[in-house]
Symmetry: C2
Subunit: 320 residues, 2 copies
Amino acid sequence: MAVYTEVSDDDLEAFLEDFDLGELLSFKGIAEGVENSNYVVIAARGTYILTLYEKRVKAEDLPFFLGLMEHLAARGVACPTPIRARDGGVLRTLCGRPAALTSFLSGVWPRRILPNHCQAVGRALATMHKAGSDYALKRPNALSLAGWRPLFDACRARADEVMPGLAAELETELKALEQAWPKDMPAGVIHADLFPDNVFFHGETLSGLIDFYFACNDFLAYDLAVCLNAWCFEPDNSFNVTKARLMISAYRRERPLDTVEVAALPILARGSALRFLLTRLYDWLNQVDGALVKPKDPLEYVRKLRFHRGARDASAYGAD
Amino acid sequence: MAVYTEVSDDDLEAFLEDFDLGELLSFKGIAEGVENSNYVVIAARGTYILTLYEKRVKAEDLPFFLGLMEHLAARGVACPTPIRARDGGVLRTLCGRPAALTSFLSGVWPRRILPNHCQAVGRALATMHKAGSDYALKRPNALSLAGWRPLFDACRARADEVMPGLAAELETELKALEQAWPKDMPAGVIHADLFPDNVFFHGETLSGLIDFYFACNDFLAYDLAVCLNAWCFEPDNSFNVTKARLMISAYRRERPLDTVEVAALPILARGSALRFLLTRLYDWLNQVDGALVKPKDPLEYVRKLRFHRGARDASAYGAD
């Protein structure tokens, strides 16, 4: 929740001159998104989001992300669409950072998750997976199995500061996942970060998905496992199997899961829990003085990970 | 630049049910304003700002602030207008905080100040002073002369941590102001915080004033002195007398200054510089761990204060 880069009048004016938006009516930094600086731009022709990509997003990945949004939007997925400048391009530079203008998506992200939200997310995720199946560009998932070990190595020495025994628990978990991680399963473009603040609703009707800046190629069912972690635990960290059942069955109505995918759900859920645990742990141990964003609690994901470790099979998620 | 209070879906829904805005289309926290939490609310009937008043704003002052905005808007001053709920009230409670919904003001606040901006601000300030002259409620200025001594006492012991010799310089300045502060001058409702981020423009045309949460009753010329400090120094802290001349003369065309007011400008500018110096110093010395807002540099106002101390008379500001 931050704006990292202040955009000067002259820079903004020069940037907007490349587009055909009409008179600028309003320009406000928004307190959402952890990685980038986002502004709402209201102009005579409409409302837009201006994103300045800060250091965590690699410039060379932006054609993949922006191209994906355009690809998905063209196939009916409600998501921000990059706005083309007069020269036809979508990726610009502003204040020394890569920047892009996208359409504004209406809706409100849910602070309290209802079962119907989970059902809608399951359906939207499968729809997105199908719409992404013919996307030409590829981007490997840097935060899947191969990425966890280096992240753990960077945290190992100080992990027990967060919780005694954490380093050992993570080492055991990582070894188990390295043994058991699936090698072959239906794969494609995944969102990889479909948390509640990235899904907009009008009431209980899903109005769109945002923030494709972790999107990559990986097992499609892994994306579902991310959503189980992000949507189906209650604030007290208990697992709500009703929400999971609704999410998975809605997903399967749009895109059937094969038996290998269903059987892999517990291990994929463990992997996805470990992924968020490790990045949160890293951020927790490497807090920057004066940072504008409070790091998220890594221990939430220790509890989630333990839940998944106790899951005998996919029936723990209401899937059969 | 922060959102201090996260509003839950249920709380937001219950709050908005008291109003007649139509379907909620978007709800985004905005990264502006230091004291309160602000959200842009887009609904079927229009766009609004929802403000939750955090602890620095006293609840008992809110009727003064909200009533003033309504009073000024009714007299043609472009400023946010409180939206009346179905029961006719404007002040509500949300998430345990006082909260109000106001109209959305278009325009962009200038990051780089041009002479024309200063002229427009001078005119708008005088217009606001005239429009406020028949406002019934009163609110003393807690951050004028009588408030500076206690604020200084709270900072004195550690002031030299910020700059060696600062405590002594402030003591001398405060004594001088206590001696020389005007006792009788044209007074009325002042904005008291009309910094660039509180003034919106379309290009170089002023489109409105926001953030009346320091408004109070005080000398009208003191408000002009605040604007001299806020608008007429360059980023290198040099004083731009062209901007000051434009601001003051535009003010005088709307509301003539009497000779006492003109003669008092240097002392009022010193007082206003001291006021911002002291609150910034206090915030600097009392930084909260994990705060979402970086405190502003108090030393900027030491330099401004010294400039005003060197001003022989109002001609230093281009006024005669």
